[in-house]
Amino acid sequence: MPHKAVIVDHAKCNGCRICELFCSRKHEGKVLPRASRIRILPYFPGIEVALVCYQCDKPPCVKICPNGAIVRDEKTKAILIREELCTGCEACIETCPASTIFMHPIKNIAIKCDLCSGDPECVKRCPEGAIEYEMTPFDARRPPEEIASDLVRKLLTHEK
């Protein structure tokens, strides 16, 4: 079933990482980009790829978690990590095809986008309007390297 997720237009992203700051502020009460649930990866020669969970229809992370710590929220359809059950084994991080689950920089838990209970902070803060909270028609779970090479082709060369 299609559902809403945080969708990024990578070509519009300017790499300012204001989304990271406000995400970590909202979730941790502190400005700490490495605790953000959305991450901006810079790629040569000057493009960015935003990593944020697509809330897949058939999420491999839910399946692989040995502790049943990853569950889908009924209301928002967000895939949530229940902190108290997470042991930091990183199985979900390894299995995520889009690299959108991260280790917390201080606590021994995995973290990911929880859609801010249906009101995503990053969407409101992006100065480029590159981040939207909209219906996603497909499991767009491609690895960042692939997105980056597509972007380079699309933006920087004549190749189709």
Binding site: A11, K12, N14, G15, C16, R17, I18, L21, R25, E28, K30, V31, L32, P33, R34, A35, R39, L41, P42, Y43, F44, P45, G46, I47, P105, I106, P127, E128, L155, L156, H158
Partner: protein, 622 residues
């Protein structure tokens, strides 16, 4: 640990391979705010009175400020050292992401001294610090170096500051490159890193910065975002970046052309932001936490320069590698820009030095034999791009030009010193003087030599009111001294936060002070803030005098005094020497500096509580 700071200074002695960290003395920092101010104090205290900038005694200080790495938008870091180009204090600034990452790794300041025996790079991963072999990086350009380090640690979020081949070969205006296209470019800090055999610094940080009053700070930071969002002035900066200034500058006779022989350029339209928007730009790029996003990624899709990809072209580069070299081919300028970033050269000094060489070539002071057959005439963009590579490699004529315009002209002689456009060895940037003489005073007195970022009184000559409400009449020396002093002091304080030039107008000094106080718990007033800027300015002056600067060095290239502008609205204008002398005399007066020597008087230093430092100066000056 103090609020607003990460709390530590990281010391690296490359001679001894020694890594130590010390607790930041926040009370000591308070007198200098951080950034520029605190780094100036550290440079003063931790270097001997007389030393070679390219020797192991020199130190490179990477200094963040109390607002770096916070929710406050648009902050930067500064890198301070003794410049191999000028032989005096040098502070160069860079946005990007490196400084913020350094602070998240737990260090407000990184100090690198000594000299490694073999090429090394520094890896900072929070508290795990390693000095690593860099044989595999030596010789690589800046882009490749950054990519290779990110590849080695399999982490694209690592931040890298590195030098290119120009830094390795000690080109005196070699830069430090970060985030591919963000540079601490001026004054040759890359050569200092090269002299230490330090190829790169890579950093990853995981520690949040604590605020004294987090709620208040957040509220103020959110107000700063709003101010930037609604600023009318910043609309053009957001859309066109610094290249918004090309046409205005050209119309006002401020656009250096053919080595400052003129100040209007027929090809300015080609180099304008509008032209770049049409032909080159594909997306915007921003520094860490910056809603101004002034940068643009440019792609050249046709012509001989097809395949060029670079961020820019910034205004200064359009002037120095464009009009000042007589080049109106935008793709060629973009390509030259990319070469400079990649090879690690400051586009301003490179452009100015090449423009000087072109004038020498046209006047037959440099011959085809000197240039190895290269026709180095104004407008020859192919020759310009070729000579850039030669400078970075120190090949042929490039070896001479790698010394910068002051040393090059001293070597060539034959009157070429008269059109060597520098102050204290730092090549003048892209703003002419004869159509806005107040800028002459700003250049002549800037602490790092010919620099446009310490005061920019051009704005007042073009009609803006000074911060204290007075206006300055165009071409008149009246009131320029105080306005310049005021700007210099204010900027020194703002650069200690470390604020970015483009945000300061929208956020405002008062709001910055509120942010500073909320972050640190200090009690700065506007008066104390500007007085601290004055303290910093006097400290860098004392440093420079100790390093050999004399009052006579506070001057401008003879061309500015002697040759009237040939065209444009300021046609016929030069800067009359008596006007300059009046400005400089008044400047010493408002500064409280000795009119005979240009030194800060003892009373002035005592009033600024720099007398502790005066004692340390011992025999050197007093």
């Amino acid at each position: 640990m103090g609020e607003g700071f990460a709390g530590k200074i990281l010391n690296i002695d490359l001679s001894e391979s020694k890594i130590t960290s010390e607790t930041l003395d926040v009370h000591e920092v308070e007198e200098y705010i951080g950034g520029k101010g605190y780094a100036a104090k550290l440079l003063w205290e931790r270097t001997p009175a007389d030393f070679d900038p390219l020797g192991p005694e020199n130190i490179v200080i990477f200094a963040t400020g109390p607002l770096t790495g916070t929710l406050c938008p648009s902050t930067r870091m500064c890198i301070v050292t003794k410049s191999p180009l000028t032989g005096i204090f040098n502070d160069s600034y860079v946005g990007g992401h490196f400084g913020h990452e350094l602070k998240f790794a737990g260090y407000d300041v990184l100090i690198i001294g000594g000299r490694a025996e073999k090429p090394v790079y520094l890896w900072i991963d929070d508290e795990n610090i390693e000095i690593q072999n860099a044989d595999w990086l030596w010789g690589k350009d800046t882009f490749e170096t950054e990519e290779k380090i990110k590849g080695k640690y399999a982490d694209r979020t690592i931040r890298v500051a590195c030098i290119g081949p120009a830094g390795e070969r000690l080109v005196r205006y070699a830069l430090v490159n970060t985030d591919l296209y963000r540079q601490a470019a001026r004054g040759g800090i890359g050569a200092v890193m090269g002299s230490k055999n330090l190829k790169a610094i890579a950093v990853r940080g995981n520690v949040p910065i604590e605020m004294k009053d987090p709620e208040k700070f957040e509220q103020l930071a959110l107000e700063a975002y709003e101010a930037i969002k609604h600023s009318e002035n910043l609309y053009t900066m957001k859309r066109w970046g610094t290249s918004r200034s090309v046409i205005v500058s050209n119309d006002q006779c401020l656009y250096p052309t053919r080595n400052h022989q003129e100040a209007t350029f027929g090809g300015a339209e080609n180099l304008s932001g509008e032209s770049m928007e049409r032909k080159l730009w594909i997306k915007r790029r921003a520094c860490f936490n910056c809603p101004i996003h002034c940068g643009h990624l440019s792609v050249v899709r046709s012509s001989d320069y097809k395949g060029t990809i670079v961020e820019g072209v910034e205004y200064e580069t359009t002037a120095m590698l464009g009009s000042d070299c007589g080049v109106d081919n935008l793709a060629a300028v973009a390509h030259a820009n990319m070469l400079c970033d990649k090879l690690g050269l400051d586009t301003i000094s490179a452009g100015a030095t090449i423009a000087w060489a072109m004038e020498c070539y046209e006047r037959r002071l440099l011959t085809n034999k000197d240039t190895n057959g290269l026709k180095l005439s104004f407008g020859n963009h192919k020759a310009m791009n070729r000579i850039i590579v030669k400078i970075a490699k120190r090949e042929g004529l490039g070896d001479l030009l790698a010394e910068g315009v002051r040393r090059s002209s001293e070597k060539i002689g034959k009157g070429s010193e008269k059109f060597a456009m520098h102050v204290k060895g730092l090549e003048l940037p892209g703003w002419g003087i004869r159509a806005a003489p107040s800028m002459g005073l700003a250049y002549a007195t800037a602490d790092r030599g010919g620099c446009h970022q310490r005061a920019w009184p051009i704005a007042y000559e073009l009609g803006s009111r000074t911060p204290y409400g007075k206006s300055i009449e165009r071409y008149s020396p009246e009131g320029v001294a105080f306005a310049t002093k005021y700007d210099q002091d204010l900027v020194a304080a703002l650069y200690s936060l470390v604020a970015c030039d483009f945000a300061t107008g929208a956020i405002g000094t008062g709001q910055y002070i509120n942010l500073l106080n909320a972050a640190t718990g200090w009690n700065y007033s506007p008066e104390r803030f500007i007085e601290t800027g004055e303290r910093i300015w006097n400290l860098t002056r004392v440093f420079n005098m100790r390093a050999g600067t004399q009052k006579e060095d506070d001057t401008l290239p003879p061309r500015i005094f002697e040759e009237p502008l040939p065209s444009g609205i300021a046609r016929g204008r030069k800067l009359p020497r008596e006007n300059f002398e009046k400005m400089i005399r008044e400047y010493y007066e408002v500064r409280g500096w000795d009119l005979e020597t240009g030194m800060p008087t003892y009373e002035k230093l005592r009033k600024l509580r720099l007398d502790g430092i005066v004692k340390q100066m011992g025999d050197y000056v007093y």
